[in-house]
Symmetry: C2
């Protein structure tokens, strides 16, 4: 007779085990992560599982029924004292009596760990670097004078298999009182290093302690986003964001580097500012969720290289010029208290590796979240900021680069441009017949041609934000107002009063009221420069991959969340692609940080992936300049966009521009030089 077959969902891992094996033991042997704080004593309730009724045939198990042992005394005791939902079992108590399909529920909620707000509904398989381990410890014995801490370590070895545990020094003075307060039982937090296997005791509580929190944080140049995550359930419990207070030292990254170079205490001031902002956010999420700072045991941080360096207290000056040398590129292990963060004294910090001098830990984290390296299809992952960080690859090969797009996509360098804020035009449509526009502004749900629009805009119309400028230029192109060379066609002035002369060139009047909002030839040129830089970077990576088509495109970051992929493609920010495979993925860097927080296998995965990624420095590639010049034009001129043509009627080719115009654009770019990184 063969042993019973047990299948774990959602992982699908399966194996045969002798009758009488606990479900927890079977899970461990199969490498299925089931949380357990109490080590199988039936008191923590973390190891709950569900039996999938009637799911056997579906999973290829034919003859099965309720093949678990009856409710045992540990489960009865737990169910009496706590809340054990119907159908739930404690996997440390329930033993296998026949073939089974077991579901590992994602919502094991105990104590204060109620989910309030999820940044992203994705929940990842857990294997946290920090684990709570409850142990019962022998009382002191004069015949075996092993110290209190040494008996705790012995119990951790016997019950949990941890050997050669290093102990954080802050624990030494609290061992005696903690052990006695817990009646010779304690819960230890054990951190396990993925590379070396070194186990460290980082915190200690009397008796059973059933709370463990982690922080995942993306430090952006503009915004800092932070999530409080339960290390025991993997869920995001609270999220918070704030402006990066370093903005007062300089709006963009390069001006912050300049500030460091010019001021002796500049680096320290910016380090202090960003750390304090992070610490304040930690306070905020703790307050919101009722979590105790002292129960925060692990943290993961990501950021672009300059933010990464400043947060770690490293001078970023080297990143301001060639060879853009990172002080540290690999993953970093340190402690929260080294970074002046108020958490448990033993709280660990893990910083995801940077890919290159302009492609930071944020891009690495986004890569981890979106996983081009885990699939066969060729994925283009783009995070647009002052620089665009571009990753292109699949399971065979991944390449990465950054392109100096400049701040045009963020509304800067545009005559009526502004940051995304209430009053900014964010959506634009232009009637190709009448050339009349309609638009939406942030803060109102109405289009500008709808009744009540004016009243709905409390702030008034204030300008055009990044997504608005992309849409208006794209719509101008689709309406034939600008050629594929980007020249505003003065001949159209005859067709509509919206086309007005502006010195030697023409502008398009988007809002003819107050304020007057126009799109000038220079605005179009600024967008062309930015999009050409982005597209040239992408093209370069496509060359490296030897491909002329990408299977998927993912826009990461705030900018990517607001633009319409169709318009991005009309303008040629991105190459041709099936539009159904182009998506915005929001704060993918934050998601990657969360993954590395809840499962230490992801740390190894991203470290290995970053090592494998081929880093392309656009400044060193002669072809980048050629691609850049070619990409100044709008689609259909140089590259065919058949997928785009299915969704959008592209205008017929017509050449209007003078060579001088294009040359002028090239000159401007050279004068601008390498832009600030972001």
């Amino acid at each position: 007779m063969t042993d019973p077959l047990i299948l774990f969902m959602p992982s699908g891992k399966r194996g045969r085990f002798p009758e009488g094996t606990t479900v927890l033991e079977a899970a461990r042997q199969l490498g299925v992560y089931v949380e357990s704080v109490c080590g199988g004593r039936g008191i923590c309730g973390r190891c709950q599982v569900e039996v999938q009724e009637g799911q056997f045939a579906k999973h290829g198990i034919t003859s099965a029924n309720d093949h678990l042992s009856p409710f045992g005394p540990k489960e009865r005791r737990y169910a009496e004292k706590r809340d054990l939902k119907p159908g739930r079992r404690l996997s440390c108590s329930a033993t296998i009596t026949g073939d089974l399909v077991i579901d590992i529920p994602l919502d094991v909620q105990i104590n204060a760990q109620i989910i309030r707000k999820a940044a992203d509904t994705r929940v990842f398989e857990r294997k946290p670097a920090v684990q709570l381990c409850y142990v019962e410890v022998e009382e002191p014995d004069m015949h075996k004078p092993l110290g209190d801490l040494d008996r705790i370590k012995a119990a951790l070895e016997t019950d949990w298999g941890f050997t050669d545990i290093l102990v954080d020094p802050h624990i030494f003075p609290i061992v005696q009182s903690t052990l006695r307060k817990g009646g010779w039982a304690v819960t230890a937090a054990i951190h396990k290093d993925e590379d070396t296997g070194q186990a460290s005791m980082i915190a200690l509580w009397p008796g059973l302690h059933n709370e463990a929190w982690g922080i995942a944080c993306d430090i952006g140049s503009t915004t800092i986003a932070l999530h409080l995550v339960s290390l025991l359930s993997g869920h995001v419990i609270a999220s918070a964001g704030t402006s990066n207070p370093q903005i007062r030292f300089g709006e963009d990254l390069m001006s912050r580097v300049s500030y460091v170079m010019m001021n002796p205490d500049g680096r320290e001031a910016m380090t202090d500012a960003v750390r304090k902002a992070v610490d304040d956010l930690i306070g905020k999420v703790c307050e919101e969720s009722g979590a105790n700072r002292n129960d925060i045991l692990d943290t993961v941080f990501v950021g672009n290289p300059i933010m990464h360096h400043l947060f770690l207290g490293i001078d970023p000056t080297e990143l301001g010029g060639a060879p853009f040398a990172l002080a540290v590129s690999g993953a970093i292990h340190t402690r929260a208290r080294e970074l002046a963060l108020d958490a448990n004294q033993g709280c660990r910090v893990y910083v995801i590796p940077c890919i290159a001098g302009h492609v930071g830990a944020d891009a690495a984290a986004a890569t981890l979240a979106e996983g081009p390296h885990r699939q066969d299809e060729m994925m283009l992952l783009v995070d647009v900021g002052t620089n665009a960080e571009i990753v292109l690859g699949n399971s065979k090969r991944v390449v990465a680069a950054s392109s100096p797009t400049g701040p045009a996509f963020e509304g800067a360098e545009i005559s009526c441009g502004q940051r995304a804020a209430p009053g900014a035009i964010e959506r634009v449509r232009i009637d190709p017949e009448t050339l009349e526009p309609r638009f939406k502004v942030i803060g109102s749900d109405l289009w500008s041609n709808e009744d009540g629009f004016a009243d709905s805009v409390k702030t008034g119309i204030t300008g055009i934000c990044g997504s608005g400028i992309i849409e208006v230029v794209a719509e101008m192109y689709l309406a034939g107002i600008i050629s594929e060379d980007g020249v505003v066609d003065g001949a159209m002035a005859a067709k509509s009063p919206r086309i007005i002369e502006n010195g030697r060139t023409f502008s398009y009047v988007l809002n003819d009221g107050d304020p007057l909002i126009t799109v000038t030839q220079n605005d179009v040129r600024a967008i062309q420069l930015a999009k050409a830089a982005l597209y040239a970077g992408i093209k370069l990576l496509m060359d490296k991959q030897g491909i002329d088509h990408v299977d998927q495109i993912r826009f990461a970051g705030a900018f990517g969340s607001f633009i319409d992929p169709k318009y991005a493609m009309v303008l040629g920010l991105i190459p041709d692609c099936d539009l159904s495979k182009v998506s915005a993925v929001g704060n993918a860097a934050g998601t990657g940080a969360r993954m590395a927080l809840v499962n230490r296998d992801y740390r190894r995965e991203i470290e290995e992936t970053v090592r494998r990624i081929e880093k392309i420095e656009t400044a060193l590639e002669p072809k980048f300049q050629d691609h850049f010049v070619a990409a100044m034009a709008l689609p259909n001129k140089t590259d065919p966009f058949p997928e785009l043509a299915k969704a959008v009627k592209l205008p017929p080719k017509k050449a209007l521009a003078s060579g001088g115009e294009a040359g002028g654009a090239g000159r401007r770019r050279r004068e601008g030089g390498r832009r600030a990184r972001g």
Copy 2:
């Protein structure tokens, strides 16, 4: 043709290597520790060796001559810039051309590492936990954007074989400037954990850094002794000692525990006091030797359990009563800055394990130094303080206990007793015919019956110290003034006016001038109680070992250095033993600390030995009381002392004492209860 044979002295390790192998490589392959900071570049000069001329036949090598390659360019360059003694070669440069005997010199002295003062002339084979590693690092390259630190780590892996190096966080901010200041060359200090093999980068200097210091420190209840040791040569460069400032909180250990129990901030105050004293001593040895605190990279501390706990910031209250539970017994790894010691920011701390609640890290270190576990002969190792720590064993088995001797051996509880200080009587002889004494006092080289004695004693005679009280009681016994039961024989008053009546008992007048110094019956009883406790502990351990004779006796600690072993044996502090095999070994605990500092193999050795040592709790052993009562008598009554009898004419047996006397002593002991531990 067989490969040349190479033999390393003093280790005697030998092996055959192909011609052209460097001597350094051969040494490494044979496990012979040859220091090298620069990794074979011929610039640090640490790997110097000597060829033993004409020593081949003696070592069984018959056909050998100058079988090394001629002076190479690296050696010439080094010899020009620095001082390379005649006959010395750089083992990284010199290659094997034939059979050889190589001597690893112990005096490789470079830069400031001049030996000023050696606490102990023993020099131990080096294998320090912290090692300096010079590496030349690739310049940053935009094509391979590996961070500065990551390239340093890569070089450490290539050149020195260290993988998965963890980096101390204080290094992150200094990586860039250090690497550039050193012209893409740095020296890293790497700490290697013996248990886990984990390598950590703890310090970083530009270019070649050729200084690395360690601290070995024994924290005694009364005295703190500290040595500055070169981690590169293994030599003690400077030593310093000071009174333990905790004395102001209580003279003995138990009064310090009481202070902690009575005062809310008592523990903290005592922790601060001892740490400051250690830090001051570090300052003193650095000043004396010209060493830089920032070059102190590793430290080893030992102390009795209460000192151990207080130094680590642990409440020692539990050690004040049964079950005398240690908070931590195993070895401790921490950092100097966690203990408020000013050294390199990454400086490590290793604390040798404690054996039991009354047998501390000092006893473990003394065991490591004297090595009973490394030999076949049965060694008794005794450290007498307020408690006696006793270790008895050989390579087969080691047992340990502590005995509550009380402070009599330190001159306390004695009517004219005092601490060892100028003016204290330390040596005594009594003429067995006339019963007239002569004595020496601390501060004078003359005996009291020699001319000019009175003038030579500047302080005047002030009392009797520990060694003096032992000698006077032993001499009284040898002169027949007291019986083997310890009773001062009143009948002797007829023979000498030195025997005077004192209530119901008699006293002996040691100094009949000013001040009058007498040895009373109570004084003799106090010594009997103390020596009975010590002897009973030793007897108990001899029972456990199943032996009635020990091969060697070692007295560790200050007390052991001053007493004459013969008188210790006459009084029966220690069992009978060949007097030539009884020796004082000074601060063996400090020596053990030095060993663990210069060679990490000794850390593993003492950790394993402490685990193997059988801990005997005298309070739990019924036979201890029997042994104690029996040991109240002086030798020859119960136990035969044939070895002692060869050296000393023991008096004939005579019984004088009343049973009531002995009973009184037993009562006093019970009232005293368990004494403070030391």
